[in-house]
């Protein structure tokens, strides 16, 4: 529903159906957004997740160390899920968001 909306909107929607790990979020969304399907783009999506967790929209439900270098070798692959604040925000977005081809 929220394709082509700002990346953070889409991250919220992507987590609606349950917790997801950083690599799942980054690889799936980097394919949706033009110019994001590279290490830099995935890095930006990962940083967006960190900012959203900091703001309390999504929560850190556990992590493993990325031993194989799936996303960033030696760093954490964190599992994120929506918080109740994030769920409320998603409901608000569904009512107000404007889907446009960009």
């Amino acid at each position: 529903m929220m394709e082509n909306t700002p990346v953070k909107f889409r991250i919220l929607e992507f987590l609606e159906n349950g917790p997801k790990r950083t690599d799942e979020i980054c690889f799936a969304l980097s394919k949706e957004y033009k110019g994001y399907d590279n290490a830099y783009g995935r890095g930006m999506i990962k940083f967006d997740c960190i900012e959203m967790a900091s703001y309390g929209l999504i929560s850190d439900d556990g992590a493993i160390v990325d031993e194989e270098g799936i996303l960033d070798k030696g760093k954490l692959l964190t599992t994120y899920s929506l918080t109740s604040y994030g769920s409320d925000y998603l409901d608000y977005l569904k009512k107000t968001v404007k889907v446009k081809k960009v």
Partner: protein
């Protein structure tokens, strides 16, 4: 290293990035005072005053128009230069995607832009009608508004230590300029209004921006804020022009290389200061971001003293030297202590700045 150790390092890194962004904001803001002071002497801004007088404006009104014109130039320069910044970061598409989401997100940046416009013009008014020192002190009160609203409206967590740091940084900033205010205690109503505009404008701008930054990238958010501020000032300039005051008569001076360089410098320093300010909010929260950003007063004093010389930069004469230099040094020491309180806060306190559950 196990997961918990890496997680602790990540939280520590996040805190350090947030604090670094706050310090960079203060540095760029402080640097901005140098071209911001010099541009008043350039014909681009200086001629506006005479043009307004020639068109029949009273002296006070001519000064106000001159300040508004400079704010307009500043906002347009920032909005244009941020296209280069976001283009370089590959974020121009994200800018368009965010811009069209007016109802869900972008409306907050309209509020932030107008509050920011109110604050910047307020400092110019306070500086013109009272003194640059009073303008800086009035502006320094904005973390009080920002901290109160971050707790009451944004429901962000603020630790006891962060509260102490906010108070110490504000006291330090006020002490910095206390000497110059005591040396010249004349009070004018326009200056007081300007000071209040600065404190409330920046405080509420931070609140609107922090609300929108929940779901926007800081680089995009700040660009939207400057686009709306530039549009707001363009409307104001057109209204002034329609009222019969030739506000754009000196605009041709923009193509003079020296003036253009000054406009570039105010644009880059102000845009980057705001980029860093907005980037600090998701990392360390609105209250800490605004408090550490208030170190701009200390940076401003240092840069003005470096580039313009201590006498002009600090504004002292032989009679007032001891009082002004003394209060400046004392203020700097208090500011350093406030920054130390924030820098040594436990990073786990800032792992999440809001209880989402």
């Amino acid at each position: 290293m196990d997961v918990n150790e890496i997680r602790h390092l990540d939280h520590d890194r996040k805190k350090k990035i947030g604090l670094l962004m706050g310090v960079l904001c203060a540095l760029y803001w402080g640097v901005w005072y140098v071209p911001g002071y010099a541009i008043y002497m350039s014909p681009l801004v200086d001629d506006v005053y005479q043009n307004m007088l020639d068109a029949g404006a009273a002296e006070d009104l001519a000064l106000v128009f001159q300040a508004l014109f400079l704010t307009f130039i500043n906002a347009v320069a920032c909005a244009v230069l941020l296209f280069i910044w976001n283009g370089g970061l590959g974020k121009n598409r994200e800018l368009v995607r965010t811009f069209v989401q007016f109802k869900s997100d972008t409306k907050y940046y309209v509020i932030a832009g107008i509050c920011g416009a109110c604050a910047v013009s307020g400092t110019y008014l306070a500086a013109l009608f009272l003194s640059p020192g009073f303008a800086a002190v009035a502006g320094l009160l904005y973390p009080i508004v920002g901290t109160a609203m971050s707790v009451l409206y944004l429901k962000q967590k603020v630790s006891k230590r962060a509260y102490y740091a906010v108070i110490v940084l504000i006291v330090g900033g006020i002490t910095l300029y206390a000497g110059s205010i005591i040396a010249d205690p004349t009070v004018q109503i326009y200056g007081i209004i300007g000071g209040l505009m600065a404190a409330f404008g920046w405080g509420f701008e931070g609140v609107a921006a922090a609300k929108a930054l929940d779901l926007t990238e800081p680089d995009i958010g700040i660009h939207l804020r400057f686009i709306f501020e530039a549009l707001f000032w363009t409307c104001v300039m057109i209204v002034i022009l329609i009222c019969g005051f030739p506000i754009f008569d000196s605009i041709g001076w923009l193509f003079d290389p020296t003036t253009f360089l000054m406009v570039l410098m105010i644009g880059f320093s102000f845009a980057w200061c705001y980029v860093s300010w907005y980037k600090s909010f998701p990392m360390i929260g609105l209250a800490r971001g605004q408090a550490i950003g208030s170190l701009y007063a200390a940076c401003g004093v240092i840069f003005l003293a470096m580039f313009l010389g201590p006498e002009v930069g600090l504004g002292y004469t032989e009679d007032t030297m001891v009082m002004i230099v003394g209060s400046t040094i004392l203020g700097l020491i208090i500011c350093l202590f406030g920054a130390y309180l924030l820098a040594t806060e436990d990073s786990e306190e800032m792992a999440s700045i809001r209880d989402g559950n």
